[in-house]
Amino acid sequence: MRIELEGVRHVYSPGTPFAVEALKDVSLGVEAGEVLGVIGGTGSGKSTLVQHMNLLLVPTAGRVLVDGEDARSADRADLRRRVGLVFQSPEQALFAPTVEEDVAFAPQRLGLDEEEVRRRVRETLELLGAWYLAARSPFALSGGEKRRVAIAGVLAMGPEVLVLDEPTAGLDPHARSELISLVGRLKASGMTVVFVSHDLDEVAEVADRVCVLEGGEVRAVGPPAVVFYADPSMAPETVRVAAALGGAFPAVGRPVRYRETLSALGRVMGAAP
């Protein structure tokens, strides 16, 4: 499925002294099967933006199109199943006595029969390497485990698009790299992923395209290499190093990811006397 935002503007608490314009005029498409990275600082509108993708927030102005049709006329429940949204700190919404029951919440809402629910719960937990937690209480898990269970709770609906809002915030490096490899596996299975982060390196690692948000406006959209080399101030450290070296050593090329930079540096060092 293809999601398109057309001139979306969003104002929180309009008409009160607490009014905040979180999105000014955002137009952005999410193509089927891609990993779209959304980056921006605190208060840039990232979270507000992604909540429009399944209409948890309705735009103050502008439209959200799903496969070319206005999402407002679509069935809300169905839209939310097709676009799975994992909030920031999703572990705060865990509530059931066991992990298995918590993950089963969403598929149960879909009205599936018990066997199908069990199958899905097991499948998703296994995909996330968390099946061994099934009988535990979600409140007794570590931060990384809770995060995986919470993501499983959304994935169990079988969404076509998975939106992850700051999925790596507060995770240790190990849990973080596991999450990034999960995104790779989901993409390989044909899922569209929207990955929100303020960490440039992370986004460079997973994204096919990058959208840079600033002050509620899109500053740049495109493949990471294009966005990062067009304005190095928006690029991760590795890209800056590569860009600086690229002038002197053409062998460095235009790496975007950390690993590419390392191998390019290896080549340069091998070539140097």
Binding site: T16, P17, Q51, N54, L56, A77, R80, R81, G84, L85, V86, F87, P90, Q92, A93, L94, F95, F105, A106, R109, L110, F139, G153, V154, M157
Partner: protein, 263 residues
């Protein structure tokens, strides 16, 4: 779904009412509310109502905020009114239809009670809308401090009040966040009967409670790590000052309450 937004919340604009000393406002509200219980004539209620409306206008808080405040009590008001009208059989009959009888005494008392509740809630809302929570708690602490002599923990009570007031919007926001996260998992809060709706709240209430305890723990630790040891020897960053206009406001309130009672 919106939780606890705007209801009883401080509304930060500048107005003569916002500028008053919180102690004056607390005492004035108390006097007004107590006075209201002695009023039992239509003229008295008209006067009290007119004063309230004038104060609401002077507070520069949009009328919408007050209407939001009154929304939850409309049901109680309607119920009280109906009970009085239908079951109090005093005075001449105005209207009779089968077993339904409306008497003048019932109608009168129903209207007075309804007016009393509406004015009361508005007056209380006026206090919280025009007084910052911290100022309100400081005011309460000062007013309660004479009781310290009989070992009443005035500071602790005020601190608990400040924290409670401070966390109402925070918990409201959190409830909204959690309800959105559950909505993203297919939760539906707006359909089905009463029982189904109540059950739909479980996935919100459990994480909210867990979160509240976590926050309380964190806050206690943060306060202790900054050296908080209760009220003994504690000074204030903002000292309250009781000015002439506060005295004037208080005197006016006493006069108005007295007049409303006598009318």
């Amino acid at each position: 779904m919106t939780f606890a937004r705007g209801v009883g919340q401080f509304y930060p604009v500048e107005s003569p009412l916002h500028a008053l000393d919180p102690r004056a406002k607390v005492v004035a509200t108390a006097v007004f509310v107590v006075g209201l219980f002695f009023v039992d004539s239509a003229v008295g209620f008209l006067a009290a109502g007119a004063i309230t409306v004038a104060l609401v206008a002077a507070s520069r808080v949009p009328l919408r905020a007050f209407l939001g405040l009154l929304k939850p009590v409309v049901f109680i008001v309607a119920l009280t009114f109906l009970f009085q009208v239908l079951f109090l059989r005093e005075g001449p009959t105005i209207f009779a239809w089968g077993f339904l009888q409306v008497h003048e005494g019932g109608l009168r008392l129903g209207l007075l009670l309804a007016a009393r509740i509406l004015i009361l809630v508005t007056a209380a809302g006026l206090l919280t809308a025009t007084t910052a929570p911290v100022a309100l708690a400081d005011g309460m602490e000062d007013l309660l401090s004479p009781l310290k002599r009989i070992r009443f923990p005035a500071h602790e009570v005020a601190m608990m009040m400040t924290i409670a007031l401070r966390f109402i919007p925070t918990l409201g926001e959190e409830a909204e966040k959690i309800s959105r996260a559950q909505a993203a998992r297919g939760a539906d809060f707006d359909s089905g009967g009463l029982v189904r709706r109540a059950r739909a709240l479980v996935p919100i209430l459990i994480p909210l409670t867990v979160g509240a305890f976590r926050r309380a723990d964190e806050l206690a630790e943060a306060m202790e790590s900054r050296g908080y040891r209760g009220g003994v020897g504690r000074v204030r960053y903002r000292e309250l000052r009781f000015r002439a206009r506060d005295a004037v406001a208080l005197i006016l309130t006493f006069l108005a309450a007295g007049a409303a009672v006598l009318l």
